[in-house]
Symmetry: C2
């Protein structure tokens, strides 16, 4: 059975303007790879309701799992929850379970749960809350869409909270053979090798070291013994 | 007149599997912001012909400029050029101008321009070559799509090569006011402020410093004097 397919939606003007360098994509990619879920597409959109809503709808329709990052704080530009609700035709309002979590958090810290902070209790009907052990304000899962915070520390904690609820497949195993030859020298036999092992994904990533060209040949697949066989053949092909 | 709108397409299994952390998006975002082109969307897709072709088509139809990164080397998984040609209904084959550039490069380095390396001379009819001062193999521009290498050093050099050909608008100016208060405390007045200055984009980015919560309030716009006025008002609002 093929692995489940996932997509990610990163939301935020600050990424697209270059102000902030996204870190969440790389973290999610590694986490999903490790549990046998194939991340097949990532989109980054601005804090624009139409852009977010149409991306959520497109990705939710096309993939088994969708993960969003960003736009769930208390300020006016935090519109992700409302957009996800609109995309999936769900009603959204302040929900008591989320309000209770926030109230307890702000009681502990002696701050007021004001109107702005109550925005973070806006959760669509039918959604399951995602635990936020860092700053309490929860994410949520609606349909196949997991809505999480953009701040990397909170995003990672929320991913940790949802991992156990995901149905992964076989983890993708990866083997790397560094070869001190340029890609152009090895591309011919490497292509023939890739055609032979259609169950495996074969990639080549060039590098430079001490002024010499080299290539990291990366073979990925789900079957460890098939990978071992393939790697032995690859090593023999490119033995100096 | 509004600024031109751009999209980026990052191509590569290695980004989606978490093997490699993309660096090109952040570089392109900063470059475009600096010349008044608004990057509105980024997509990351795998080395899959259908995924690449349909993303190129969708982005080329929706934006003024499209920039791609990755998949133009000599190996079997380098299929970007053929996919861009297919997406824009152009014929593609080895082109003499690109072959001449590669021949000169490999003559200099004493390597053979073999079948694999000739793959890098596959350029669609009607495309303009993009100079690659690092490793010679050119990128190209077809319609509004700029096809560039994935290796960050070469990607940056190619971006440098194309910047002069782009028609930018007014650069987006950005001012930041750090406030040592949590987002929830300032979200109310900040929202009112954002509604007043509809020409400006107003964002809030939380941070923690010495155990205290703070927010970077970022205001972006094209008119320096309007920005100055707005920032003065913002500073007065949040003066301690």
């Amino acid at each position: 059975m093929p692995n489940p397919r996932a997509a990610m939606l990163v939301i935020g003007d600050e990424i697209l303007s270059g102000r902030t360098r996204d870190a969440n994509m790389h973290h999610l990619a590694n986490t999903l790879t490790g549990i046998g879920i194939d991340l097949k597409e990532v989109r980054v959109v601005s804090d624009d309701a139409d852009a977010i809503t149409s991306a959520v709808r497109a990705l939710s329709d096309s993939y088994d799992y969708v993960f969003t990052s960003g736009g769930i704080g208390p300020t006016h530009d935090d519109i992700t929850a409302d957009c996800v609700a609109a995309a999936l035709d769900a009603h959204i309002d302040i929900r008591d379970d989320a309000r209770t979590i926030l109230q307890a958090h702000y009681d502990r810290s002696g701050q007021e749960l004001n109107t702005a902070r109550l925005r973070m209790a806006r959760i669509p009907d039918g959604a399951t809350l995602i635990d936020n052990p860092i700053s309490s304000a929860p994410g949520f899962k609606l349909g196949n869409v997991h809505v999480m915070a953009g701040i990397p520390k909170i995003f990672c904690a929320m991913v940790e909270s949802v991992v156990a609820t995901l149905q992964g497949g076989k983890p993708l195993l990866s083997r790397t053979l560094p070869v001190m030859r340029g890609e152009g020298d090895i591309a011919g036999p490497l292509g023939t090798f890739a055609e032979k092992y259609t169950d495996l994904s074969v990639g080549s990533y060039p590098f430079q070291k001490d002024g010499m060209y080299g290539s990291n040949l990366v073979v990925r697949g789900q079957d460890a013994s098939q990978l071992d066989t393939a790697m032995a053949e690859l090593s023999a092909m490119f033995a100096e």
